[in-house]
Amino acid sequence: MAAGLGFKEFTTGDVLTAADANGYLASQVVMVFADSAARTAAIASPQEGMISYLKDTNATQYYSGSAWVTIGGAGSPLTTKGDLYTYSTTDARLAVGANDTVLTADSAEATGLKWATPASGGMTLINTGGTTLSGATTTVSTIPGTYNELIIFIDNPSGSADYSLLIRPNANSTASDYQQFVNRGTGSTNNAYVDNATSGVETTGYGMDSPANGNMIWASIPNYASTTADKVINVSSGFIQTTGAKAVCNTTCYFAQSAAITSLVFFISSGLTFSGGTVYVYGVK
């Protein structure tokens, strides 16, 4: 096919030759083809500067002298609600993700993008439904090590008589592993003491009244899944004392064990048994 001849302004009486028609007109219009195959069949020798339009891809292309190059990209690849216009080595469609997924950069994807479920955060109840306290001891076992922290909430624990409640991680009964500072108060009285002779984490300091009457114990164990670091356990409690007075207690315990905590044993004092209450163990990301 003839090369484009540029621009010429014809005047009245001019006679257009075949070369004029080919060089000034046919070679310099936007030629419309069904697809690139039809274009190849029609133009055996494309010339630099030619422009064509392909109906199958809605692409307008110019011939660079060696290849057809898309002008301004092909038509939009978007087809569906929520589609995103992305790029790999060509323009590409990224279909909308599932509900509640988020757009995430990922170099392994062709477009460098994907829809992904966001990393979960917040608290997850590990012992489904909670564990009703029962027997002389109640154990929550096989705690997964997939969280950053454990939060323990003991709701309205009750014993067969007035009692105190302790927590023993991994059933560890070595008293010297529990270095504790207990700060307790009732009425206008407050006192604090250190304790390294109790083989469990103190949660109340005083004895609690039973049956339960709004007793509540809350504890946290950050970094509980570490296999190299000792643990620190913090406990706060509010309860009715055996005398009927309201009491509170805060305990900080250095638990000198580097093993991951995979179980928690809850037990009460002096041969009593639980008669109610529920323990909830949450994992926190």
Binding site: I126, N127, T128, G129, T131, T132, L133, S134, G135, A136, T137, T138, T139, V140, S141, T142, I143, P144, S164, S173, A175, Y193, D195, A197, T198, S199, G200, G205, F267, S269, S270, G271, T273, F274, V281
Partner: protein
Amino acid sequence: MTKPMVRIHDVSTNEIIDREMTDAEFAQYQADQAERQLHYLSA
């Protein structure tokens, strides 16, 4: 002699088992009682 009962909630299976203490658990239980008596005398 009947030993005290214990409850174990295995969170991997969500199975809750109530059973009597084993001999080892019962020994620890008795030790705990003695410890608590001493603790409340001194606290």
